[in-house]
């Protein structure tokens, strides 16, 4: 009996790359979470759980919750907008679809920082949006939109919307149009057809998009730093500060570890949703 070794051979370069250059360094950093911070910023190699405990201190837990709230808001709104766009694209004639998808992912081809800076220009006190409001006839003092929570949410949605469009487009475009027609034929209105047939069959795409945006948003530090101003902190900024300014690597590692756990949990939940929606092949035969 010889087993086919080719799949392993094909996979191993990529797996080694990921393991050696991502998993190992990450683990090395995460291990620091269990050590004490040295007097002058170094690391004192004595085991402690203090760093982990500190993450759950109300001060930091609140930043965690705040980050989750902002990431959730961004992911939720992006999911709705992205699903609607993907739905419209999938309903177009085939030859138009690839062009529209191309435009949807076009922002990815420009630099993330440049795009975020562009938003500063838009949201500025003298920015385009305020000028537009004045031009339309709005008078009086306008609150600055820059350096607010809303600005961060808007920036995150803007950056990650293409992911949701792509992840929702995939199941929507695969949907056999006869399935929707069958629902109509059996007496369902357009809305009922959407609610009971199209939506349940494409939920995995939404779940993928939502989790993607959430995970990328909760750990993001560029957008909150630029659009949220200096005083606004998300968990990503906190981690950034521990490693680069406070020089408290063990606490930074502890924060990162909790963040990674949250992300892994979500990714697993998403995988479960996707699995269940794919027809439940392992289901009971009742």
């Amino acid at each position: 009996m010889t087993t086919d070794r080719r799949p392993i051979l094909l996979m191993s370069p990529a797996l080694l790359w990921l393991f050696g250059l991502m998993v190992v360094p990450c683990l090395l950093i995460l291990v620091l979470a269990f050590f004490r911070r040295g007097m002058y910023g170094g690391i004192e190699y004595t085991f402690t759980l203090e760093n982990i405990a500190l993450v759950f201190d109300p001060l930091y837990a609140q930043i965690f919750l705040k980050s989750a709230w902002i990431a959730g808001l961004a992911a939720g709104i992006a999911s709705i907008l992205g699903y609607a766009a993907a739905y419209a694209i999938a309903a177009m004639p085939r030859h138009r679809q690839s062009a529209l998808l191309f435009f949807a992912v076009l922002p990815f081809w420009s630099n993330y920082l440049v795009r975020t800076y562009a938003w500063i220009v838009l949201l500025n006190r003298e920015g385009l949006i305020v000028n537009l409001a004045r031009w339309v006839g709005f008078e009086g003092e306008l609150p600055s939109m820059l350096y607010t929570e809303q600005a961060v949410v808007i920036g995150l949605i803007y950056n990650y919307l293409p992911f949701v469009i792509l992840s929702c487009y995939a199941p929507l475009s695969r949907l056999n149009p006869e399935i929707s027609e069958a629902s109509r034929d059996l007496g369902a209105s357009g809305w009922t057809t959407f609610r009971r047939v199209v939506l349940p069959m494409t939920v995995p795409g939404i779940a993928t998009g939502f989790v993607f945006v959430f995970v990328l948003s909760i750990g993001n530090f560029v957008t909150p730093a630029l659009l949220g101003g200096g005083q606004f902190q998300m968990i990503g900024n906190l981690v950034y500060a521990q490693f680069l300014t406070a020089n408290d690597w063990p606490f930074g590692a502890a924060l990162s570890m909790v963040l990674i756990m949250v992300m892994l949990g979500l990714l697993m939940a998403q995988a479960t949703v996707a699995d269940r929606a794919s027809g439940g092949k392992a289901g009971d035969n009742g």
Partner: protein, 353 residues
Amino acid sequence: MTTPLLSLRDIKKNFGSAQAVAGVTMDIHRNEFFALLGASGSGKTTLLRMLAGFEAPSGGDILLEGSSIAAMPPNKRPVNLMFQSYALFPHMTVAQNIAYGLEMDRLAKAEIKSRVSEILEVIQLGHLGGRKPDQLSGGQRQRVALARALVKRPKVLLLDEPLGALDKKLRSEMQLELKRLQHEFGITFIVVTHDQEEALVMADRVAIMKDGALLQVGTPREIYEYPETRFAADFIGVMNFLPVSVASGGYQGKEGPLIRAADAPELAAGSAAVAAIRSERLGVETQGENSLAGEITDIAYHGLDLLLHVKTPLAETPVISRLTADVAERLAPEVGQTITLGWSARDTRIFPA
């Protein structure tokens, strides 16, 4: 005269500049099993989709029990369609799939439940109500799709190539099964098919479609024995076509004797025509007005019957004669042998060339 159940009045459908359905007028009666037979691109599926409400006619009208349904959306029509792909909802169980249409009718829960289990028994899938569609075989899925459409007791059930995805053996079983269900439920069936045998076996009446128009409508026997056009004759069964010219008292092939035909159309003497004879009417022992000697060039064994390819002076291509198994066994024909074929003038159809 009662009004027909369904009445199509000069129905047309254009897609851009292409005409898919070119003015179809016909009536379909209560409890009829009607087959729309045609090759792909003949417009039969477009016609069916207009009956279901998924395409709006570009012209003409559709009357159901005398009132127009042409502008009625599909979810309001008392008509159901069984899709070629079955289009079962993959995220619902068999029972949920079947219940879906009844829920849309806002029936009471108890009634839905009893009707679902009733129809599951009828299609002999009573034990599989809890399964998801992808846990079923092709034949089982086909029956679930049928049950889902049938359970609503529509006035007309439309079936788009209902047996197309099944293997041959299952298909012939299901042909009879569909007939049985149609009788049992007393519902008008309109089935679209490209399979001539399927249409002949199942339908009370068959319409042959070509290029978006009806070529001929009639009972299976009328369609088979008295095709009105050369296309209809060719589409169904195995037909021998012999190029002939019109002579006095008969028709002259390339060489050989005059072919005699009964009930032939009036054609000008000397004009070109085609004589058509069914392979099973062209027998070795058949007595008839026509007889012709030829050499066997090929023998194809089909179990139930035997197809002889016989080269005759009448035409370049050999004619095909179908012998039943018992005749074939007695005669034991061999390639190279010369035989005499005979057929009756009544079995000869003449079409203008």
